[in-house]
């Protein structure tokens, strides 16, 4: 055995061009990242060498993520093991550390630290939600009291309004089984999509609501909660999968309607009435009263977080952006929708990150090894390839300084005036994830893009062509026409949101490669990342 291993080691040949890459790597700058991947699975052969300090920090953070996951299991070991055996999606979360690794590839110094702080907060909050869901699951603990305190809501309903019910636990129904799971593990969605399609729903509908319906058909949602809040957000597909979810849950439910033509003043009264009606429904179902003091207190935190968010945006408008890649939007949607001011830990993380960011900005720290293009990413990103922006940066020096998902509502919510707060909430909800830009008229997505291109001094637009998104597909030609007029690099990247079988990660990369090599005739920053297989990866 030992002899065989020694033989293999002797036979390893290092190609001359790779020696240079390894040499650069030794000094801590990212290079040869593609060589770290195993074929097909893209599992890392070893962790990335980032120089002593950064490597140690990265490893420490990797351990912290594991610690948080183990702590969750430690709090309710039996429930978690039962959950692992019962729910197909549960095991996907075991790959969460690999998810973080994908998103911090190539990062150094302050960028590495900021990203890790953000991702760890995502891990912490997710483990909290999983832990509660398992402990409250009536399949494992029939008639438990915790479940009665849970109000289920459609995942697109932001959490802000529920901060007024401090004794209740709002759980976004689809987030754990499908939305977040599909980001962590690209293999988890196809089985659910197949279930829905076998049931008779066409394969051309958006895979997000289709996958959610699949989880319902498979009976793979945790059995928790006293009632359900469904909503018309974000799109036609999610409106329609509500009847599949309702049918499975068999819980009292309430439709929370959010106006679509949200730029019009004449819809605002309806928006406010819907918030009031939602509050009244939760009060009626749970016997809890809306606590304005608790709500205002949390909205103060929410506003403070918003302030930190806007500082990130301001820094990214300058010549020295400090946070690029996927971290920006992933953290943003996470705290906006799932916390909405309720979890104070998010605020602590924001403070820390802000400090690091401002110091780095003052020192004019470059955000990455090479920044050839400032880019904006538009349309819905692919859940199965959330780290695509990191690849753009590492492979081609395309730094994503702003994206569509980050640009959700940035309105403050009044923390002292009840009527104003309701109006602010209504406006905020009208501008939530995936619907702020796809609803309310083309100006919200077309004109908004060109505004951002200008404000962020962007020369490249990575335009996701999410092939099943009817709201975006309907404007394909208009985007093309107007991009030509503006003379920006407009790179279409086809993807299928949740279904890597239709357009794989590799196919997505290939579309960028072709544009960069044929249209711009550029050489990649890291040639080892140009083409690799990761179809079997998490």
């Amino acid at each position: 055995m030992l002899k065989d291993k020694l033989k293999k080691l002797k036979n390893i040949k290092i190609e001359p061009d790779k020696i240079k890459a390894y040499a650069v790597d030794m000094f801590g700058k990212p290079a040869g990242l593609g060589d770290l991947y195993r074929e097909h699975t893209a599992l890392l052969k070893h962790r990335e060498w980032r120089g002593a300090g950064d490597t140690l920090y990265d490893y420490y953070r990797w351990l912290v993520n594991w610690k948080d996951m183990i702590a969750m299991v430690g709090k309710a070991p039996v429930s978690c093991v039962k959950g692992l055996m019962r729910y197909r999606w549960f095991a996907s979360y075991l790959s969460a550390p690999a998810f973080v690794d994908r998103h911090v590839m190539g990062l150094r110094g302050p960028q590495l630290r900021m990203a890790h702080l953000h991702y760890n907060m995502i891990v912490k909050h997710t483990t909290k939600l999983i832990g509660i869901s398992m402990r409250a699951d009536e399949r494992f603990h029939p008639g438990n009291k915790l479940s009665k305190k849970i109000v289920l809501m459609d995942e697109i309903v932001p959490n802000e309004v529920f901060t007024g019910f401090p004794n209740l636990i709002p759980i976004p129904l689809q987030t754990l089984p499908i939305f977040l799971a599909s980001m962590v593990d690209q293999q988890i969605t196809p089985p659910y999509l197949e279930v829905t399609e076998s049931y008779g729903v066409p394969a051309d509908v958006c895979p997000l609501p289709s996958g959610e319906a699949g989880v319902a058909i498979e009976d793979d949602y945790p059995k928790i909660g006293c009632c359900m809040i469904s909503t018309n957000m974000p799109c036609d597909g999610s409106i329609m999968n509500t009847s599949f979810l309702d049918r499975r849950l068999q819980l009292p439910s309430h439709v929370f309607g959010v106006p679509l033509r949200y730029n019009d003043e004449d819809v605002q009264e309806y928006g406010v009435e819907e918030i009031k009606s939602l509050i009244a429904y939760v009060e009626e179902q749970t016997g809890e009263k809306f606590d304005w003091d608790a709500f205002f207190s949390k909205m103060r935190d929410y506003n403070e977080q918003l302030d930190y968010e806007l500082q990130k945006w301001d820094v990214n408008k300058t010549d020295y952006p400090q946070m690029t890649g996927a971290c920006f939007w992933l953290y943003r949607i996470f705290y906006f929708n799932l916390s909405g001011g309720s979890n104070k830990r998010f605020l602590k993380v924001d403070k820390k990150v802000n400090k690091i960011m401002m110091q780095a900005y003052e020192k004019k720290t470059p955000v990455s090894k090479v920044m050839r293009h400032r880019a904006v990413v538009w349309s819905c990103p692919a859940n199965y390839y959330t780290s695509f922006a990191n690849w753009l940066e590492n492979c081609w020096g395309i730094n994503v300084v702003m994206d569509m998902e980050t640009m959700i509502s940035y309105l403050e919510i009044s923390a002292d005036d009840k009527e104003q707060a309701l109006r602010d909430l209504a406006r905020t909800y009208q501008r939530s994830i995936m619907r702020k830009h796809t609803k309310g008229g083309y100006r919200n997505v077309v004109d908004e893009l060109w505004r951002i291109v200008e404000e962020y001094h962007v020369d490249t637009v990575i335009m996701y062509d999410q092939i099943s998104c009817k709201g975006m597909d309907g404007l394909n030609g208009i985007f093309d026409d107007q991009a030509r007029e503006r003379n920006v690099h407009f790179i279409w990247v086809k993807q299928d949101l949740m279904d890597p079988r239709t357009i794989s990660r590799r196919d997505m990369r290939d579309q960028v490669n072709k544009y960069m090599q044929t249209v711009l005739q550029e050489e990649p920053v890291d040639p080892t990342l140009l083409d690799f297989e990761d179809d079997l990866a998490w």
Partner: protein
């Protein structure tokens, strides 16, 4: 059966969106107001001086340009409208009243504005925000939208009269059309109906696509004619079905279904008469506009309505129609890429089969019948399965009777 006197003329009128009657009304100085969706209250577009045209794109061919603008993955109806608009086919319109009720149609109508597709300096497009459930505050919102997106712009731009008298006049005309269509449609409940689904489809489309004042005489005549019309003694169908689903403005589909052995006895699809041709009952003591708006909310069977009672009502309506029209089964149809009906038909057809005991089939189709060869095979198979079920039922009844 003897041919209906006006059927040929009606069929010809359906060959063009800007048909002879539309041109005649325009020549009289009336405003042509386009719309596509049931959520836009049709009767409001028929106030004095105006007439509604529910947009179709008859004889659609290539959709190349619309596909460039709206990709391969959007429904054929929305793309056909865009293609026709780019060709200049809707230049007769004075306004287009839209609603953001489905993303695909919304995008198609936005192109009218973005690409300046109608050659008329006064032309405008407006979009209503339509709620997803019926509650007092959502009715109020819908009424407000009707005022802000239909009444105010039309009054300001074209000085259209929306007074109570004008509204009542429009409702009266609308109700007469509905009474006639209900009377004609009720013959489909007969054991051997004296009108085919295709004929009814043509008549009904005429009521959506032509100025009502110019078709009323002919509708009256047709209703009279039908009173004495004798159906063929030998039934020329093997099963009766209710068709339920998304937008279907090509009567050739109904013809194709009927050629395959099924008689379409109820049209519970978008552009059909259920809903669409129910009278609006006005209480003079209440606000007229509110009652009109409420009528459209209450009668709508669009799967976009999310609340429990509306979802249940949709299923119950289909079951009721099967019973009322003595149908043997239900054909759920969905225009390809329609998200709403993609989900609705899948779940509802399961429920019909498994829980309500109503045989159903579920199909998707293109915008035009000419490109739906497979549909014929699917319908034939469905008809056969209905026949087999009938035979099995009869046998079972015999066994019970004997034993």
């Amino acid at each position: 059966m003897k041919d209906l006197k006006h059927l040929y003329e009606f069929e010809n009128l359906l060959q063009e969106a800007n048909n002879a009657l539309v041109q005649e009304a325009k020549a009289q100085g009336k405003l042509a107001l386009g719309y596509t969706c049931y959520h836009v209250p049709e009767v409001l577009l028929n106030c004095p001086g105006c007439f509604s045209v529910r947009l179709r794109a008859p004889r659609t061919g290539s959709l190349d340009i619309a596909t460039y603008y709206m990709s391969n993955f959007l429904c054929g109806y929305s793309k056909a409208l865009l293609e026709r608009a780019i060709e200049g086919g809707y230049n007769f319109l004075d306004a287009l009243l839209g609603s953001e009720t489905c993303s695909e149609m919304n995008r198609a109508l936005e192109h009218f504005e973005l690409l300046h597709l109608v050659d008329n300096p006064n032309f405008f497009v407006s979009f209503m925000d339509v709620p997803f459930k019926i509650e007092p505050h959502t009715v109020k919102h819908y009424v407000k939208q009707a005022k802000d997106k239909i009444i105010h712009p039309l009054s300001e731009k074209y000085n259209v009269d929306f007074s109570d008298e004008a509204l009542l006049k429009a409702v009266a005309e609308h109700n007469e059309v509905c009474r006639l269509m209900t009377e004609i449609g009720s013959y489909r409940k007969e054991e051997n109906p004296r009108i085919t689904g295709y004929e009814y489809h043509v008549l009904n489309l005429i009521t959506y696509c032509c100025p009502k004042s110019l078709i009323l005489d002919k509708l009256r005549e047709t209703a009279e004619e039908l009173k004495t019309r004798e159906p063929d003694e030998k039934k020329n169908y093997r099963a009766k079905i209710v068709v339920v689903g998304s937008e279907m403005d090509d009567p050739e589909f109904t013809k194709l279904i009927e050629e395959s052995g099924a008689l379409v006895v109820a049209d519970r699809f978008c552009f059909g008469s259920i809903p669409g041709r129910e009278e609006i009952h006005i209480d003079p003591n209440e606000d007229i506009l509110t009652q009109i708006c409420k009528h459209y909310m209450v009668t709508s069977q669009c799967p976009r309505y999310m609340s429990h009672e509306k979802v249940q009502e949709r299923r119950d309506t289909v079951r009721r129609l099967v019973k009322e029209y003595h149908a043997d089964g239900v054909l759920y149809e969905q225009i390809k890429f329609c998200e709403y009906w993609g989900y609705e038909r899948a779940l509802a057809s399961h429920i019909m089969n498994d829980e309500y005991g109503v045989p159903s089939a579920s199909v998707d189709r293109q915008y035009t019948a000419s490109s739906s060869g497979q549909l014929r095979t699917r319908v034939q198979a469905f008809v056969e399965s209905l026949e087999i079920k009938k035979i099995a039922k009869a046998r079972e009844a015999n066994v019970h009777a004997q034993g």
